[in-house]
């Protein structure tokens, strides 16, 4: 049925696949901003945006449901950002000012290449992950590319040539660099486990790999220990990773970067229209990728429930011989989990107050980092004794 697809040149297929992933991710990242407003409204017991509708569509019966969900508000906001005058203030460093939002988007959309987002069962009965580039260095590539995101913030703060953006840029870069350490240390026990003594009796050669797909394979083995998600095996690692993830994506309660009470709008103060919205789409793209990594590492990736794997479900419901159906179900489960995680991000945002900046630094360096090191040492000794 799809044979014609495999006859076109390899590089065209790669471009098509990359564009397809981006065309799904970009609108989801944009739609998150509307979801944020609706969820904020529900938590604060008010309806939120619910009136916008295109005049012609208003006559379609039953469309009021979408209207009340604020779906047309999203379209109107998007259109507004595209058509608004894109003013550049006279006192900024123009080159870097315009480059900063573009630099924000590049790492946010590049990291997705190393993130597997589904799996299917091939004719040999083997589970194959769906990913743009199944590299052995998986998590390292994601961390390396996403660490470049700090330059967007630094440049935006510096090029704006005014005080509050500059303070915000300095704060943001210090925060990003501080929490990167804890984040990297917190995932090491997972990879020690997947490459440790238990890995030898696992199917396939697992040793010496940082691939994210293999972490998921490791969580979908048979037996009690094989099927357990890593959230049960390493809750402290998951907690440290989660806290660092909130700080890395500049989300509440680590929202000191753009704390509007003391920094106006921080590094975005001088930005408007399309450039401003690019920063926010990049932030949501970072959240999506971060949530995806969290789900892959600690929540079993595309497996629906702990101890119940995707291939179990596929065999039980009898679509295991249809790779496309299995793939769509796998991607659906995974995207559903990631969106649930995004909801969690927003829930926390409207529940917890913001930390003060000195508290952010104290938590990062004096509490989270020692905890991450102790966690790593404990698991290293434990895994060595196994």
């Amino acid at each position: 049925m799809f044979d014609f697809y495999f006859e076109i040149p390899h590089w065209i297929r790669l471009v098509v696949q990359g564009l397809a992933v981006m065309l799904v991710m970009f609108p989801i990242a944009a739609a998150c901003s509307m979801a944020e407003r609706k969820i904020a409204a529900w938590i604060q017991d008010r309806p939120g945006p619910n009136r916008t509708i295109a005049p012609i569509l208003a006559w379609v019966p039953g469309i009021g449901f979408l209207q009340r969900l604020g779906l047309f508000q999203l379209a109107a906001d998007g259109g507004k950002f595209a058509f608004k005058e894109d003013a550049v203030p006279g006192h900024v460093n123009k080159l870097y000012f315009i480059a900063a939002p573009i630099i924000a988007m590049i790492p946010a959309l590049t990291t997705v290449v190393a993130v597997p987002f589904g799996a299917y069962i091939d004719s040999a009965g083997k589970l194959v992950p769906i990913v743009l580039a199944n590299v052995d260095l998986g998590i390292l590539v994601v961390f390396a590319v996403s660490s470049l995101g700090v330059y967007a913030v630094i440049l935006a703060g510096w090029a704006s040539n005014s005080k509050f953006p500059f303070l915000g840029g300095i704060r943001a870069s210090a925060q990003l660099i501080s929490y990167e350490l804890s984040m990297t240390l917190s995932v090491l026990p997972v990879f020690l486990w997947t490459n440790g003594p238990l890995a030898t009796d696992a199917p396939g050669s697992f040793t010496g790999s940082l691939s994210l797909a293999r972490v998921v394979e490791f969580q979908s083995q048979a037996g009690f220990w094989g099927g357990a998600w890593f959230i049960f095996l390493m809750p402290l690692s998951a907690f440290i990773f989660l806290v660092a993830l909130f700080a890395e994506t500049n989300r509440q309660p680590f929202d000191t970067v753009e704390s509007e009470a003391d920094l106006v709008n921080s590094f975005g103060s001088e930005y408007g229209a399309f450039k401003w919205s690019l920063f926010y789409v990049a932030e949501y793209a970072h959240m999506l990728i971060g949530s995806a990594i969290f789900m892959l590492l600690f929540f079993g990736g595309w497996n629906p429930l702990p101890w119940i794997t995707l291939s179990d479900v596929a065999h039980f419901l009898g679509f295991a011989h249809l790779p496309i159906v299995t793939g769509i179900v796998g991607i659906g489960i995974f995207v559903g989990k990631v969106l649930a995680m995004i909801f969690f991000f927003m829930w926390v945002r409207w529940t917890l107050p913001r930390f003060r900046y000195d508290q952010v630094m104290a938590i990062g360096w004096k509490k989270l980092l020692p905890l991450a090191i102790a966690n790593l040492v404990a698991y290293t000794i434990g895994i060595a004794l196994l």
């Binding site: 260095l137 390292l140 590539v141 390396a144 660490s147 500059f166 870069s173 010496g208």
Partner: protein, 176 residues
Amino acid sequence: MSPDILFYFFAALTAGSALAVVLNKNTIASALCLLVSLVGVAAIFVLLDAFLLAALMVFVYAGAVVALFLFIVMLLDTYGGDRKPFKKATIVSSGFALALLVLGLVTFADRGALETPAAEASATAVVPVGASLRAYGEQLFTTYLLPVQIVGFLLLIAMLGVIVLSKKFEGLEDVK
């Protein structure tokens, strides 16, 4: 696109931006050129199949070290500051050094020869050390164990030095 074209492209990018680091008058622009240069080096590592080294290059140098450079530059001087023009002695001596380097390279290309690896070694398809984490880790903990330990101690000494220099000793009670 053959790897050769890519190599020339990234080599030109690396060398060109490295030159821009020195010649740029604005210190922030210099730091950003250093960033581009390091990414170019990482790309050349990828062309050499040393994927791990490429990832580490981006992660450690491009991701953290240059960010700290920028940080320091911005804290010391908010607007990046214009560098003073080069002194005549600096220009002359750097031109002399460049001429020596070019002379050395030309002589090497003309008369010297790199030791070509033995035929059977290339036939067995040795895995490049920098390609995978496993190969790299095994080398670090066997063949290169002593250099790793020495570098570790050097870094520790540097770290202690930074702590001593940056900590404000009130009175002298802390030192005792």
